[in-house]
Amino acid sequence: MKPFISLVVKPTLECNISCRHCYHPPEERVPGLMDDATLERVVRLASEEYETVWFIWHGGEPLLAPLSFFKRAVELQDRYFGKDSHRCGNTVQTNGVTIDRRFMDFCRDRRINVGVSYEGELNDELRQMSRDTAAAIDMMSRRGYMFSVSCTMCRTTAASMPDLYGYFSGRGINASFSPVVPIGCAASNGTTPDPDEYARASIETFDRWVTDSGSDVALLPHYLYLLNALGDPQPSDCQHTSCLTRWLSVHPGGDLYPCGKGRPPEFRLCNISEVGRLSDAFRTEGFARLLEGTVARREKCAECPIYAYCNGGCSMDAYHEGGLENNGGDSCRIYRQVFSHVQRTVGSILEDRPDLSGYNRYVRDAVVGKLVNPMITGQ
């Protein structure tokens, strides 16, 4: 069996709000729910070929699917992977507008991660119905449900990233930050942030988090960058995992794409009803085109001092930022600045051996882990 795959499953492309940076333009966000046969086929094929599978329920807005859809998905996972087998897990990524206690109770009982796309008081810059999402966040915090927020920063909000971190940190909510990428609706509406401004804000946020000894939250992707800089061999966030052959996105009608970032027709792989194994999608002409461009881009990256950490970055980002075969787009520029800063910070902590009590708990644990395990030597 193959070791692992992440499946971005889109139960529907319909959405109850219209984010200005959505991967799917309005004409793609049509009603229609994944049927039971497709859902069952996804779970069965995944269980037959992969030792462990992470299901990421995305969309559209996945919670426009009824709760019975997710109960059915978990029932199928129990059937095909084995009940309590720990062979698969789930994350639901939602805009939070329709979250209620019933859904959160279900997620708590089935240990399903819930990620809410939300930018606090800046939410209206990219999204709508912010009051509903804020009410859901309040309810989840008050009742002690486990969840995290994903903040997407745009041209007008990028500089506020440190304040937004403070907002969520003060409420004990784990937050991840990423920039708008020019895909779908954001391809030409001017919402992508200035890369240098984003990188500056990201670095300032990291510096604030590193010495935030009172904070009990992880800051992503910075924490993963820090682990990488300390020598953790696991790749960090999804843009830098070398994801081809290990990620797939399943659309409501069963069409397979290499990842969840939109659906460029040239990278449509096939339909799940046409294949006997999920990995057959990696033997299609669409995938060959993606591989070809990615390999060419990485050849240009080979001399870069941090290539071993970024693995050439995200092919979908590159494709939309200047061409699949070209590096140096905004995402590349941001990563180089932010990761290099994280690397320098880690280097100085290891060299100067400061009193770690003034550092964030996550930083302390990571650095102590490195010091007590000298076998971790970095890449």
Binding site: R79, G82, H86, S242, L244, R283, E285, F287, V295, N311
Partner: protein, 98 residues
């Protein structure tokens, strides 16, 4: 077709060689699935449909209260037997009928 397959194999190998570290497999022992798909009497069970549809005897929801009831009955029965053979725990409990 085979020319296309060869090309994809070659590209995939090249891609993986460009980031070999990311494709290193870290072994992790997955927990063995429980056997609720298997009947308690080892009777035939395809494993395709959940037990709860056809064999309600072995679902979690049925098993937990049932196990608890059996355990309580065993403990109570054990106490009664001990009381009987020791004639009321050696007279400590004087209400045991002679």
């Amino acid at each position: 077709m085979s020319h296309g397959a060869d090309r994809i194999d070659r590209l995939t190998d090249l891609y993986m060689s460009q980031s070999a570290g990311a494709f290193t497999v870290f072994a992790s022992a997955a927990k063995k699935p429980n056997d609720h798909e298997q009947r308690v009497d080892d009777g035939p069970h395809g494993g395709i449909t959940p037990c709860s549809d056809q064999y309600p005897c072995c679902t979690d929801s049925m098993c937990k209260p049932g196990c608890n009831a059996v355990l309580i009955l065993l403990i109570a029965g054990g106490c009664v037997c001990c009381c009987y053979v020791t004639h009321g725990f050696g007279g400590v409990w004087p209400y045991w009928p002679a």
